[in-house]
């Protein structure tokens, strides 16, 4: 530092300290990622970089500034809204409306039974058909889904991981029967199974065969579908599950490394498939951090791919889709979500994403309506057309702060990637449950910050709206959808050549025993009208179904509340309860049906335990009947049902019935938490639910309500 600039800085520091009455050294703030943010950055903060190259250009090594030289100045990002619900017919109508209103690409959401490889007529999936996405049972559904949407012109992204084989096969066959050759199909299949084991839980088979399926798809698409992205390596669901940005970044890239290895083990050259790998990140509310994350991701990926020996420049470039954060949306004061989503969208754009989904403001409550979907889409149209953000490539480059943050994030993520490599790669780490546990720890910390008020969420823990607006939501008649789907399945099973289908399924089972590519026999079976469920079962015969081990963190939540009055109040109520009743209050926390999003359930379990409850955790994918048996055998006082996929209207009454069947005098109370539209509250209360906790509920307050309800209930005896 020259004397001159040194003097300048010293003068600034003096003024700063005078204004704030604080030492400069005490003025930093720490992010969730453990990065110290300083009140001011200077030229000095651009020194000693090991990842970011200060004078790089867009579309050039190390691609920090963007995958293309021209970026949005030539063509803006793709507005790609993720949607799907109910039947293929209804989703098709919705897609066509959206495309007419300025949306450019499609992104299909499938329902949970499809994800988990069950047909709509399977008893296990009663409550989930058509709820959180569209139900696809056969190629006929897929054809209806894209009716009048020419697949040689429309790029289609499909969020599918578990049942990736039958779904991709259905897409290929639907294209062919539309007269479109598979080589002309463009779009992306998510095909990212590792993160399913970490956070989203919509897997079917154990990790190893699942990785083989991923590699099969990469191999097939690299040879036969040159315009199709074989995988979308996703950090999105990690952030949604509570991961901070460093964890999201590091684990996503580490997953990427593992997929590259899996594909190379099939004898492919890295440049054969690497250009068709794509990524998917979440964009949350930490504005600058999110921008830096996308820049860091490109920087690190280029380095990683170079180490793999990639020679084609396109192999080095990370292209990504982004989605604004669903978990940042609140049920309280829901119009605030429009504003949150707007800032998140701007972050994604300044970070240089290739395509973007903006969430609808009502998604913390239910599936978007036509109106809320329109506002979400317009958020992007306004950015593209009114704000001028498309006119300059990577406009924040050279900012002391942004460049420094990009470097810091890269460094921290690189350390974690190195750690995973030392463990033997992501498949091994995932099997050991390490990433899952780290993400849960991070999630619990974040929740504690909100509940303790040290992190402000407007309209939730501060500046509450005294007059909560009521919002119209989309209602799915789950039973009607299920009946429609069952009729369609029956009709197809009647008209198809059953012998040929059986033979095709046997071939598929045999292929799973060999090491051959599974997509080819899968396409054959789907062509003959085998169902998604039948195909999945044919493979299950060889691979089995995977059940996850569940590990839990403890003490992380409670640590944030040492000396907190509200926390101690609940603790002492629980102690009092224990003295009076000879044991602690005992609560069973469950997920029912096919919904695998267990962040909420895990946070409730660990924080309730920290307050003094004994918490039983049920396995994922339990039926209401299993939950009832579990609850009664352990003589719990209460059951907490976590629901995020709209299955509660079917599953909760079933649970109540199950409890009464085993014990007609059962006094176990039931409370429900998660995404529940207000319109459903009355229905649930009528079904004897004792309390409902929506998104953004304060956990300590919820716990107090639960212990009070339990005590009241016991005193009635």
């Amino acid at each position: 530092m020259t004397n001159n600039s040194n003097n300048g800085f010293n003068n600034w520091q003096k003024s700063f300290e005078k204004e704030t009455k604080k030492n400069l050294s005490d003025a930093n703030s720490e992010t969730d990622e453990g990065i110290d943010i300083k009140p001011v950055y200077t030229k000095e903060d651009l020194e000693n970089f090991s990842f970011v190259e200060k004078h790089s250009l867009p579309g050039q090594w190390p691609y920090t500034r963007g995958p293309k030289a021209s970026m949005y100045t030539n063509r803006p990002w793709t507005i790609r809204q993720y949607a799907g619900f109910s039947t293929a017919e209804e989703s098709n109508e919705f897609y066509k409306k959206n495309l007419e209103s300025g949306q450019k690409g499609l992104s299909v959401a499938f329902d949970l039974p499809t994800h988990r490889g069950y047909d709509s007529d399977d008893d296990l999936v009663m409550g989930d058909v058509g709820k959180a996405g569209v139900a696809i049972d056969t190629v006929e559904d897929m054809k209806i889904l894209f009716n009048n949407i020419p697949l040689d012109q429309m790029s289609v992204s499909m969020t599918m991981n578990g049942a990736v084989l039958p779904v991709l096969a259905s897409f290929i066959v639907a294209g062919e029967e539309q007269g479109v050759d598979r080589s002309l199909l463009s779009g992306t299949i998510q095909n990212d199974i590792l993160k399913e084991f970490m956070v989203r839980n919509t897997y079917i088979y154990p990790p190893e065969p699942s990785m083989k399926i991923v590699a099969d798809i990469i191999e097939f698409t690299s040879k036969e579908m040159p315009k199709f992205n074989s995988i979308s390596i996703s950090g999105y669901h990690m952030q949604e599950a509570g991961a901070d940005n460093v964890l999201e970044l590091a684990y996503t890239l580490a997953d990427g490394i593992e997929y590259v290895r899996a594909a190379m083990s099939k004898g492919l050259d890295v440049d054969d498939f690497a250009p068709r790998l794509s990524f998917f990140f979440a964009i949350g509310t930490d504005f600058f951090m999110e921008i830096a994350k996308l820049r860091a991701a490109r920087t690190l990926w280029a380095k990683i791919m170079k180490d793999f020996g990639a020679k084609n420049e396109r192999s080095l470039i990370l292209r990504t889709h982004c989605q604004t954060s669903g978990v940042s949306l609140t049920e309280k004061d829901p119009y605030n979500n429009i504003i949150r989503t707007s800032y998140e969208a701007l972050s994604a754009i300044l970070g240089g994403t290739q395509s973007l989904h903006t969430n609808s403001f009502d998604e913390a409550i239910a599936l978007p309506t036509d109106e809320s979907a329109r506002i979400a889409r317009n958020t992007q149209l306004i950015l593209q057309n009114e704000t001028g953000v498309t006119k300059t490539v990577d406009p924040l480059a050279g900012s002391y702060f942004i460049e420094n943050l990009t470097e810091e994030l890269s460094k921290k993520a690189w350390d974690i990637i190195t750690e995973i490599e030392e463990l033997g790669g992501m498949t091994k780490a995932v099997k050991a449950g390490i990433p899952k546990l780290k993400i849960e720890e991070s999630a619990t910390k974040k929740q504690a910050k909100v509940d303790s008020g040290s992190r402000v969420v407007v309209g939730v823990n501060k500046y509450k709206n005294p007059k909560e607006p009521s919002v119209d939501v989309r209602v799915i008649d789950n039973n009607r959808v299920r009946d429609d789907q069952i009729k369609k399945i029956h009709a197809i099973k009647q008209s198809r050549n059953t012998k040929a289908v059986e033979k095709a399924l046997t071939n598929l089972t045999n292929a799973a025993k060999d090491e051959t590519n599974l997509l080819i026999p899968c396409i054959e079976a789907i062509k003959l009208r085998a169902t998604v469920g039948e195909v999945s079962k044919a493979l299950e015969q060889v691979y089995g179904r995977h059940f996850a081990k569940s590990l839990s963190v403890s003490g992380v939540y409670g640590k944030h509340f040492e000396g907190d009055k509200e926390f101690m109040k609940v603790e002492s109520k629980i102690k009092e309860f224990e003295n009076l009743n000879g044991r602690r209050p005992r609560v069973l926390v469950v997920k029912m049906g096919q919904d695998g999003h267990d962040r909420g359930a895990k946070i409730v379990a660990t924080s309730f335990a920290d307050m003094g409850f004994d918490v039983d955790m049920g396995p994922l994918f339990q039926s209401p009947k299993d939950v009832a048996k579990d609850a009664i055998e352990n003589d719990v006082h209460a059951i907490g049902v976590s629901t995020l996929a709209a299955g509660h209207k079917t599953l909760v009454p079933e649970l109540m019935k199950g409890l009464k069947e085993i014990d007609p005098k059962s006094k176990i109370i039931v409370f429900v938490g998660g995404i529940i539209p207000e319109q459903d509250y009355e229905f649930l209360y009528e079904n004897n639910v004792s309390a409902i906790f929506g998104p953004g509920s304060n956990i300590i307050e919820s716990a107090e309500k639960v212990i009070d309800l339990i005590s009241d209930n016991l005193s009635k005896e």
Binding site: L551, E571, D616, M617, P619, E633, D635, I662
Partner: protein, 320 residues
């Protein structure tokens, strides 16, 4: 007692409530539970109690899921008492055992109860013993007691069961030297899990290590300790486990060891309970007299030695 009839009929809710009673720390509950147990022991079932222990991470719950599935497929009724180790010193606990027992927890012929260990030794308390009496009366053929291996606790657990089983992982043979002599003495069967995939070789080697090490512990009148290889994931070796359990039980019954062991265990529990009552009485007396802080201060000020303090307090507490 109405509850007794319901338990004998096998009513799930009644069994559950009864276990709550025997685990309760409330005086009135304890009185009822004493009455209940004295009724129930008059109507004993024929169940075999099997203990499973082992260090964390060897796949105990996964093994129980696998072995239990095999047993219920053979039409046995199975009760499981899982002592969950994940307790904290403060606060409550997270009981996650059932997340690893997905299939058997659904089966109508099982009853699975998790108990938080509450900081006691491996979680074994009087309650666990009473709970096994309840499940016995309710007609369960096998009662599994699962504990986590933390040294001493295995010895307590082995005093609750007819057969004690230690589950270990591949590669643990080297640690055999370090395993307390007690455990190897108390265990009847050693199960080497994870005999699958890449670990197969290692598992066989471990089993061989155990066999050779255990040959030193042969008891004169008991069966040789058994070492078995299983894979919980692939569900292999399960027939061997049940065959071995039945063999040992038959032999022990024939030689009278079975009853002898139950009698020894009874002595152990009576002694434990008497000690508990005396200890809790003494603790109350100590607290009410306030001698410890008083004399501790004197020791701190060098007015007396610690030994003198201990002697004085002991004399004062015991006299009455």
């Amino acid at each position: 007692m109405e509850l007794v009839d319901k338990i004998i009929k096998g009513e799930r809710a009644a069994i559950a409530k009864a276990i709550t009673l025997v685990e309760s720390s409330k005086d009135t509950d304890q009185q009822i539970s004493r009455q209940l147990i004295s009724e129930l022991i008059k109507k004993p079932g024929k169940s075999i109690r099997v203990g499973f222990s082992g260090p964390p991470g060897v796949g105990k719950s996964t093994f129980i899921e696998s072995f239990g599935s095999y047993l219920v497929s053979q039409n046995y009724k199975l009760g499981i008492l899982a002592i969950d180790p994940s307790s904290q010193i403060t606060g409550g606990s997270i009981l996650g055992d059932k997340t690893r027992m997905v299939e058997i927890s659904k089966n109508p012929n099982t009853f699975i109860r998790s108990t938080p260990s509450r900081g006691t030794l491996g979680g074994i308390s009087m309650g666990t013993r009473e709970a096994s009496i309840i499940l016995d009366a309710a007609g369960y053929n096998f009662i599994f007691i699962e504990t986590v291996g933390v040294g001493q606790s295995e010895i307590v657990a082995s005093n609750l069961v007819d057969i004690f089983t230690l589950i270990v992982g591949p590669g643990s043979g080297d640690e055999l030297q370090g395993i307390k002599k007690g455990i190897t003495e108390y265990a009847d069967i050693f199960i080497v899990n994870k005999n699958d995939g890449e670990l197969k070789m290692e598992a066989s080697k471990t089993a061989a290590d155990y066999k050779s090490a255990l040959s030193y512990y042969k008891k004169l009148d008991a069966l040789e300790k058994q070492v078995l290889l299983v894979s919980a994931i692939e569900q292999t070796g399960m027939e061997d486990v049940i065959k071995t359990i039945n063999q040992i039980i038959d032999q022990n019954k024939l030689k009278g060891i079975f009853d002898e062991r139950r009698a020894d265990q009874l002595e152990y529990w009576i002694e434990e309970e008497v000690k508990n009552i005396i200890a809790s009485d003494i603790t109350k007396r100590l607290a009410s007299k306030g001698n410890i802080p008083k004399y501790s201060k004197k020791v701190m000020k060098n007015e007396m030695s610690m030994y003198e303090a201990v002697e004085t307090i002991t004399k004062d507490t015991l006299k009455q």
